[in-house]
Structures are given as structure tokens and as C-alpha cells.
């Protein structure tokens, strides 16, 4: 047993070589982006893209940030993502709590409706979605984008949470009920703390999804002041397409929050996103 799964030194070397090759394929583009983002001009980037800059011009970042309104985009992205997280977590926990713990007529129908949302990608329903948002007067507003993104996130969140409820014993909730607690109180004081791990997964999924979403904001937002980072990056490109050093700086600014969050909580990211990806 041991013999079969322990690598001999020369095998270890070979394995390391293969894995290192792919690790480099992943890391090199990031490295190139970092190095070239502080070069002074396009010429310096094109001459030696793999070399460290002779002059470290960190002002590229300040310039990208100022001239491209990254501050504004950042704020919009934050507003959209945090609202999406709060709304989808709140509503999904409420719905799943009722679906998992309360018997009533039409329950399976509601559950099936949510499952249809898990099975059919909402991306295919963009035309009617567009009409709904427009008819409700929510086009070109952050509220519209937030509501749509929360709604798109809901089925998966409900699915993950109802599954989680199945594994949580209802005894505590029943005890609270016997003590005279109303469903509101049970939900807020008993259930929410109980399902914390699942909430963390759902919140992470919702945040990453809404932070990265490109098509929905593109469809629903026209004013530049409302753009999140994804659309802002596109805007940035029309301005700096031929100034690669600026493009790299802009890309680093855009990727930094996700990469930093990933490095801080890589376990949660890997497990949460893998699980969420499977359930989709």
C-alpha cells in the first residue's frame, strides 16, 4: 500500500516538473501583468515583456484609478454585490426555512418552481427578463440590477439551504415553538444561527457571482455613473487599449480584491465554489 502511493525520488521529480509547468502557465500571466503595470510606456512593455521594469512607475495605478473612475465603479460593484448577498441570503433562508419545516398545500409546487430555476440557466431568458425590468421602470437603475441578480441567485441558494436544513435536527426549533416562539422569532433567533455554514457558502457564491457578472449590468445599465467594475473595465479598455502598461494596471486593480480574498480564505473559496458549481 505505502509502496504504491509513495513516490520514489525520481518520480517525485517528474511529478513536480509536470505540476510546476501548469503552475507557471497559471502564474506567468499574473506576473507579466504585475511587472508591466509599472512600466512607463508601451515601448518598454513591448521591448521586454518578461523583464523587470527599469523604472518603477507606480503612478500608473493612481492614473488608472483617477482617470478611469475606478473609485466610482468600485463603489457601484460593492453596492450591487453586497445588496445581492444580503437580499439573496435573507430571502433564500426565509423560503428554505418554510419549505423545509412547514407543511402546507402547494409546497411541492413551489419547490418544483425553484428547481426549474436551478435546471434552466436564466441566461436563456434574457429577452423576457429585459422586458420585465423595463416594464417595471427599473431599467438603468442599480435597484433593477440588484433585484435581477438576487433573483437569479435565489434558486441555487434555496437548493443549497433546503438540503442543509435536511441535515439539521428540528428539535431546537420545536422546543422554541413549544415555548411560544412565533415563526418570525424562530427564524431570526434560532434558525439563522443554526444554518451559518450554509449561509457562508451561499453568501460567497452570491458575492463572487454578482461581483463578476457582466451581461446583466450590460443589459440593464446605460449611465456610466452606474457601471460596476466589469463594465468599467470595458470602458477603461476603450480609453487605454493601446497603452498596455495602463491596461495591466487596470486589470490588477480589478483582480486584486478577488485574489486577495482568495488568498485569505482559499479553503472556503475552493470548497464553496466547487460545491456551488456542482449544484448549478
Amino acid at each position: 500500500m505505502e509502496k504504491i502511493f509513495k513516490l520514489r525520488p525520481h518520480e517525485q521529480l517528474l511529478v513536480q516538473f509536470v505540476l510546476l509547468a501548469w503552475a507557471l502557465t497559471i502564474l506567468l500571466p499574473f506576473g507579466i501583468a504585475l511587472m508591466n503595470s509599472v512600466k512607463p510606456n508601451l515601448g518598454a512593455v513591448l521591448r521586454e515583456p518578461f523583464a523587470l521594469p527599469e523604472v518603477w512607475q507606480f503612478s500608473n495605478y493612481a492614473r488608472a484609478w483617477d482617470q478611469a473612475d475606478f473609485g466610482e465603479y468600485f463603489l457601484n460593484s460593492m453596492i450591487i454585490s453586497l445588496s445581492t448577498v444580503v437580499i439573496s441570503v435573507l430571502l433564500a433562508t426565509m423560503v428554505s426555512f418554510v419549505l423545509a419545516r412547514h407543511e402546507f398545500r402547494g409546497k411541492s409546487l413551489i419547490f418544483i418552481c425553484f428547481m426549474i430555476g436551478v435546471i434552466i440557466p436564466s441566461r436563456l431568458a434574457l429577452p423576457p427578463m429585459f422586458v420585465v425590468v423595463k416594464e417595471l421602470g427599473l431599467a438603468n437603475s442599480l435597484v433593477g440590477v440588484i433585484l435581477v441578480q438576487s433573483a437569479v441567485m435565489l434558486p441555487l441558494a434555496v437548493f443549497i439551504l433546503t438540503a442543509f436544513f435536511k441535515g439539521v435536527s428540528p428539535e431546537i426549533e420545536q422546543a422554541a415553538r413549544i415555548d411560544g416562539a412565533s415563526p418570525f422569532q424562530i427564524y431570526w433567533m434560532v434558525v439563522l444561527p443554526l444554518v451559518k455554514p450554509a449561509i457562508a457558502t451561499v453568501a460567497l457564491l452570491a458575492f463572487v457571482f454578482s461581483w463578476n457578472e457582466y451581461i446583466l449590468p450590460l443589459l440593464f445599465l446605460q449611465d456610466r455613473e452606474l457601471y460596476p467594475l466589469t463594465l468599467g473595465m470595458q470602458q477603461f479598455k476603450t480609453q487605454f487599449a493601446v497603452q498596455w502598461h495602463m491596461m495591466f494596471a487596470g486589470l490588477i486593480i480589478m483582480m486584486a480584491p478577488t485574489v486577495i480574498a482568495f488568498l485569505l480564505a482559499s479553503r472556503a473559496f475552493i470548497e464553496g465554489l466547487t460545491q456551488g458549481g456542482v449544484k448549478e
Binding site: 436551478v118 423576457p128 435565489l154 415563526p183 480589478m254
Partner: protein, 312 residues
């Protein structure tokens, strides 16, 4: 009117209050989901029966959109081109994922030095936005970019390779970006399946005198089949409905000369017009295309949904 509450009535009102509160917990989520997600999903079918540019009057055409899609020379050609290119894209990705992903997962399942860090690095691009992946990749493979300089330095190519600018290499290049981003996710799935098999089955095989290759070939790989099916369906569903990378890099026209046109861009272009604003937008036709795509991925996604339900 004066009501005198008897104990029995008070009990009822407590029950009613409980029932009312349950409903109040349920309804907001149902309204939000129903309005912005479920209604559009159902509406896609009804919208596929009309012809409507998005503003002005609409016209009921019944199955006309579907007929036009299959009989109109231009539409049919576009549909099939998009379909084959999506399939080609999917084939490239899934082939790479299953073969290379399995090899990497096996390598990571042994006592490999630094496997924790490899897992982190491999997964790193996965949470990034499609737009970041697209633009970063675009700069790397540019005609004057780092990759071309490297290729010429090692003498792998005479002139610069056009990658995204050439009809024959554009779609494979975008597939490469997609693979670059998602391989880590695939590896995690296969790896957890491998770690799920190991001890007892393998111990039996080893006791029977199997060597390492035989263990992999006859014990590990057969047990991985469910993971392979899962990955195949996940990637298929994603590739068939999500065209972000193409849309970002090539715009709705999926250039050069529609050579990167996939189902997602075909639908988007039909719904909201081409970038030049030339093609007439038709939300009805776009919905019909949406239904066609849904029919293609439905068997796979229903299988996944049922499997997920059963596993709960």
C-alpha cells in the same frame, strides 16, 4: 361588532398567526424569484411565438420563428454554424479537462510535495471575472504580445501568430482561456472523487498484487466515471448558455467573420442587435433560440438536478 374571544378562538388565532407568519416568510422570496427569474423563464416560451423588435407593436407568429430558424437559408446557416462551433469549443475543453484534469488530479493524490500550494495556484483563476480573464488573455496572445515574443524566441513560429485575429485560431484561443480558468475547478472535482475511493478498495487491490498502474487503471478510473459524467454535463450546460468570453472579446458579431459565433452570441445578437446596429433585433426569435438551446441542455441538466435531489 363586539366579539368575545373564547379560549378556542384564541387558539385559532395563534395558529392563524403562525400560519400568517410562515406565509410572510415565504412570499417575498417567491415574488422576487417569480417576477425576475421564473416569469422570464416561462415567458421565453410565449415570447418565442411572437415577432417583436423590443419596441412598438408585436405580431403573433405561432411557430413561425422556429420554422424560419430551420428553413430560412441565412438563419439556418447561422444556427448550424453556431451549433457546430459550440460543439467544437465544448469538445476541445472537455477533452482537455478529462485527460489533463485526471492526470493532474492523480499526481496531486500522491505524497506530492507542495500539493496544498498547487491546488491553490490551480484554482486561483476560477473566481476571477470573465472580463479580467478575457482582457488579460488578449494582451498575452496579442500579435506583439509576450506569447508571440516567446514563440519567436524559441523559434516555434516564423511570423507572429494571430491567435484571436485569425478565423482558424480564434475559437481555440478562447477555449484555451476557458480551460486556463476552469481547469482548477475540474481538478477539485476529480480529486475529491479519487480521494473518495482510495483506502479499502485499493488496499484489496494491493493485497491481490496489483501494481500502481493496475490500481489506477482497474480501481481508480472506473470509480471516476460518475465524476466524469458530472463534469461533462456541467461544462456542456455552461458552454451552451454562457458566451461571456466571446461576447467580451469579439462583441455580438463574434468575429472574425462569425468564426467564434456560439449559441450564446447567436442568441444575444438576435435579441439585442449586432454591435454595428445593422441586424434587426427580434426578441421573439431570440426567445425561440433560447428554447432551442434549452432543449439541447435540458436532458443533461435534468439528470443533474435529479441526481442532486437524490443525493440530498
Amino acid at each position: 361588532m363586539i366579539t368575545i374571544s373564547t379560549p378556542r378562538q384564541r387558539l385559532m388565532t395563534f395558529r392563524q398567526k403562525e400560519k400568517f407568519q410562515y406565509m410572510m416568510l415565504l412570499i417575498p422570496g417567491c415574488i422576487l424569484y417569480g417576477l425576475f427569474n421564473f416569469l422570464p423563464l416561462i415567458g421565453t416560451f410565449f415570447m418565442s411565438l411572437i415577432s417583436w423588435p423590443g419596441i412598438g407593436p408585436w405580431e403573433f407568429v405561432g411557430t413561425g420563428n422556429y420554422e424560419e430558424l430551420l428553413t430560412n437559408e441565412v438563419m439556418r446557416e447561422r444556427l448550424f454554424k453556431a451549433f457546430w462551433q459550440t460543439l467544437f469549443f465544448f469538445g476541445l475543453c472537455i477533452g482537455f479537462f478529462l485527460m489533463v484534469g485526471t492526470v493532474f488530479s492523480l499526481l496531486l493524490s500522491w505524497n506530492t510535495v507542495g500539493k496544498k500550494y498547487y491546488k491553490m495556484v490551480f484554482f486561483l483563476p476560477y473566481p476571477l471575472a470573465a472580463i479580467a480573464i478575457a482582457f488579460l488573455g488578449q494582451l498575452i496572445v496579442d500579435v506583439r504580445g509576450p506569447l508571440n515574443q516567446l514563440l519567436q524566441f524559441v523559434g516555434a513560429s516564423e511570423g507572429p501568430v494571430l491567435f484571436l485575429g485569425d478565423e482558424s485560431t480564434a475559437l481555440p484561443t478562447i477555449a484555451a482561456f476557458y480551460i486556463w480558468q476552469k481547469l482548477g475547478f475540474v481538478i477539485m472535482l476529480i480529486l475529491s472523487a479519487i480521494l473518495g475511493v482510495r483506502s479499502d478498495l485499493l488496499e484489496a487491490a494491493v493485497l491481490d498484487g496489483a501494481n500502481r498502474w493496475q490500481c489506477i487503471r482497474h480501481v481508480v478510473l472506473p470509480v471516476l466515471t460518475p465524476a466524469f459524467i458530472l463534469i461533462t454535463i456541467l461544462i456542456m450546460v455552461d458552454v451552451f448558455n454562457n458566451a461571456d468570453l466571446v461576447l467580451i472579446l469579439m462583441g455580438p458579431d463574434a468575429g472574425p467573420y462569425y468564426s467564434t459565433d456560439v449559441m450564446g452570441t447567436f442568441q444575444y445578437r438576435t435579441a439585442f442587435g449586432s454591435s454595428g446596429g445593422s441586424g434587426a433585433a427580434d426578441l421573439g426569435m431570440a426567445s425561440a433560440i433560447g428554447i432551442v438551446i434549452a432543449l439541447m441542455i435540458l436532458p443533461g441538466s435534468i439528470y443533474l438536478g435529479l441526481k442532486n435531489l437524490r443525493d440530498r
